[in-house]
């Protein structure tokens, strides 16, 4: 199995916390789409004929694309790669783009999962985060999506923001559970360099992030998912009725993926590579038949470290049978020695492997670092 990620590097406006690659200048839009199609053809052998189980439009803001633009891209995917029968086709969308017609179009395109960037149901938060929508638009678009026929819907909610009190956070969660959607991606607000939020904090125009509040809101989240029949299957991802994000899960499952578009990451089990994070340079590279990217060849050490990073975020954790197929005897020995030294509260040992109990996922980096090679 394998996945395809398509990065749409445009946004109407910049969210204060976001450091993903995007441009608010939309003039290169058609050339980017042409280039992405071109890249697909150039790299059609990257996944070595593995059937595609997931297609994911990320960004940026993929919901900015028209029906026609999405159609062209999707068609090229179907033409170029072998597609599995039950393919997940997911699109990230912002509430302000999701009017009824748009949702009908997306449904027509057989996009079968929506990941909606709601972030909060409080206008105060949305303004601070510099989002383009308001709370009502968020609620409305979800209902319309359900009316149009989307069942597999996820929304993003951010906690720990300077503007979000614990009460506001509880209210956000209550709204979420009242909407009857099966998936939630809930992120702790993380400060990234060179974002507007970083600037605001450095210049004293916003408070520093409150780590204790962040943690309190994580615990509030834990309680409320329990009370509503959800389960946490990854650090920031929650679902009911097994409605996991198949695409994101592939990142944590040692599965190949091909990333198309500027800044997109690819992985073929041996190497990781990522395209240049610059729209013009990306277009130029494609035009010259010379893709602009960086690549790293993974040593066994890197592969081991990546395995720990990705697996210990999830409810599945480290599996001994995986270790045995992927790594040398010495490395497995190292793993066993180190895992015996870890604070037993932080890990749960089972006969099949070890995992981090969810109340400690917030401290998972500590566990990962101590299991690593020195």
């Amino acid at each position: 199995m394998a996945g395809i990620y398509i990065h749409i590097p445009f946004c109407k406006q910049a969210c204060s916390y976001c450091d993903f690659h995007f441009s608010t200048n939309l003039k290169n839009r058609s050339r980017i789409i042409e280039s992405i199609i071109q890249e697909m053809i150039m790299r059609q052998n990257y996944l070595e004929e593995e059937p595609i189980e997931t297609i994911y439009f990320g960004g940026g803001t993929p919901s900015l694309l028209t029906k026609k633009e999405l159609d062209v891209v999707l068609n090229q995917v179907y033409k170029t790669f072998p597609i599995a029968k039950e393919v997940e086709v997911c699109l990230e969308a912002n509430p302000d783009d999701l009017n009824k017609q748009k949702l009908i179009d997306l449904n027509d395109l057989e996009i079968n999962r929506l990941s909606i960037g709601v972030q909060s149901f409080h206008n105060e938060d949305l303004i601070f985060m510099n989002r383009a929508h308001n709370s009502d638009e968020a609620k409305t678009c979800i209902k319309t999506a359900q009316d149009v026929g989307f069942k597999n819907i996820s929304i993003d909610l951010i906690f720990g923001s300077q503007t979000t009190s614990n009460q506001m956070w509880e209210e956000n969660l209550n709204v979420f559970f009242s909407l009857d959607i099966p998936h939630l991606s809930s992120y702790s607000l993380t400060l990234e360099e060179k974002t507007k939020l970083d600037y605001l904090i450095k210049t004293g125009k916003a408070n520093k992030l409150d780590e204790d509040k962040n943690f309190q809101q994580y615990l509030i989240l834990q309680d409320s998912i329990d009370n509503n029949g959800f389960e946490q299957y990854e650090l920031s991802n929650y679902c009911k009725n097994q409605a996991i994000s198949k695409h994101n899960t592939s990142y944590w499952s040692h599965v190949k993926y091909l990333g198309l578009g500027p800044s997109a990451h690819s992985f073929n089990l041996k190497e990781r590579q990522w395209n240049v994070s610059n729209n013009s340079l990306y277009i130029k590279g494609i035009a010259e038949n010379n893709l602009a990217f960086e690549k790293e060849l993974l040593s066994e050490r890197d592969r081991y470290h990546d395995y720990l990073i990705t697996r210990l975020r999830t409810k599945w954790g480290i599996l001994y049978k995986d270790l045995e197929t992927l790594f040398s005897k010495q490395l497995i020995e190292h793993f066993k020695n180190k895992s015996n030294l870890i604070n037993p509260e932080l890990v749960k040992k089972e006969s099949s492997g070890i995992k981090i109990p969810r109340q400690h996922l917030f401290q998972s980096d500590e566990v990962i670092r101590s299991l690593w090679l020195d």
Binding site: S236, F267, D306, Q363, I368, R369, W372
Partner: protein, 598 residues
Amino acid sequence: MDNIRNFCIIAHIDHGKSTLADRLLEKTATITMRELQAQTLDDMDLERERGITIKSHAIQMKYMHEGIPHILNLIDTPGHVDFSYEVSRSIAACEGALLIVDAAQGIQAQTISNLYLALEHDLEIIPVLNKIDLPSAMPEEVKDQIVDLIGCNREDILSASGKTGEGIAEILEAIVQRIPAPVGDPSAPLQALVFDSVFDSYRGIFAYYKVINGEIKKGEKVKFVNTGKEYFADEVGVLKLKKEARDSVKTGDVGYIISGIKSAKEVKVGDTLTTVANPCKEAIQGFEVVKPMVFAGIYPVDTEEYEELREAMEKLQLNDASLTFEPESSAALGFGFRCGFLGMLHMEIIQERLEREFDMTVITTVPNVSYYAYLNKTPDVPILINNPSDLPEVTILNKVEEPYIKAQIITKSDYVGSIMNLCIEKRGELLNQIYLTTDRVELVFHMPLAEIVFDFYDKLKTISRGYASFDYHPIGYKESKLVKMDLLLNGDQVDALSALIHKDKAYDLGKRICLKLRELIPRQQFEIAIQAAIGAKIIARENVKALRKDVTAKCYGGDISRKRKLLEKQKKGKKRMRQIGNVEVPQNAFMAVLKLDD
């Protein structure tokens, strides 16, 4: 001998000594432009970066004056208070000195103290106003200062710019005309003043000296009078850009000797060199064994690197005889060394050299001075205390004495008030206040050396916005009300953080140290209590809250590489921390007391 001139340069840091010296070398064709770029008088990287000369060197120039070749020996002096004894020995080897004063900044404390040293040795002083090309130069005012200070004629002051090369020719002329030739008896037994030594990993120690009387010949058996050690003079010569071997070095000249000496410890600056066959009757006056003033523990961050650290320290000592060290062990830090330094700068230099030249990651503990403790049962017997942890229990302790210094500060009159406050806060006692000019004041204090070791320099700099210069000399020991303050992390005493402090300041300092440590110790899986205690009494407490979040939430779009690199960086950072009990303490926390106001 009549055509030899030996001189040094007296200047404050950044007043342009090195640049001016380079110009002299260039003008006398001792060094070409190309060589100049590749090499200056300051050899070590560290010196170049800090812009100061740590170890003195000497260089010989040839200069034609009225058709007669003259030999000019420039003896370079270290430019920092920590090295004042070495400066005094370099000065003793000269007959004259260039007094370089920055035309924009005027006279500074260090210039004055070194000038007094030069005057004590009857050196001919040639005042040079440097950096006259600067837009901010105030040549007339600074000339007034110089006239006031040394009582010279206004027209004796030369003007120069090391940058443009202006005035260099006049300086060379003045050196020949004004500085007297050395006097000495060429037929007397050899008597040479050792003013420096340099370590070479192939040939061992080069000792630098000036021949006062007699001559030193290759192949002779020589003796250092104060250490009593004897060697064969394998090679003697003079110090051009590269060393030039000679059959002998004669009266009045400056040269080097290689004699199979392996370590800088064997050569004492200020010692007298003579021959075994025909020794001089007396040693040259002024020899002292340099004693370290500041002590601190140096420990490897990784306990397994103790032996490597020992080797590194031994190698450093080969070319830095003023560094002392002896093994010690700390309950908190394991095995390490108690090291003695000439001062705070010297300590920083050693720490940096360990990291740069030997790739060692070390923890330096809170520095302290040497104390004398007296016990009740033997109240007349001083016990030397170089480590606060060694202070005897209060119940058996009679009294403690600490070293005092005479501190000299020169500043603008605007800052006098705040500098006085600082010195009084630092237990200083004002002795004298002299207006050098209407807006330049010299303040003289007696104060405990220990206060200088704490955050004095940084504070002085801040208060005076950089317009204060500082110099000091030890003046002996005085009794003091000192107590030992201990620091505890989660209830466990950390001996490496103990300090002797004045009783009246204990509460305030305890509070501030706890606050500083709270800032420096990262949050960990559990809450950490930081306490300051005197004996069994807790005087301050702060908590580091437990770590709540140690995770990068975002790991999407398949970018695993970035997360891996971030974790690698964090893991590396952890390696620079030291586990004490169950608490991980970063390297810099051990010096926290020095940076209380940052």
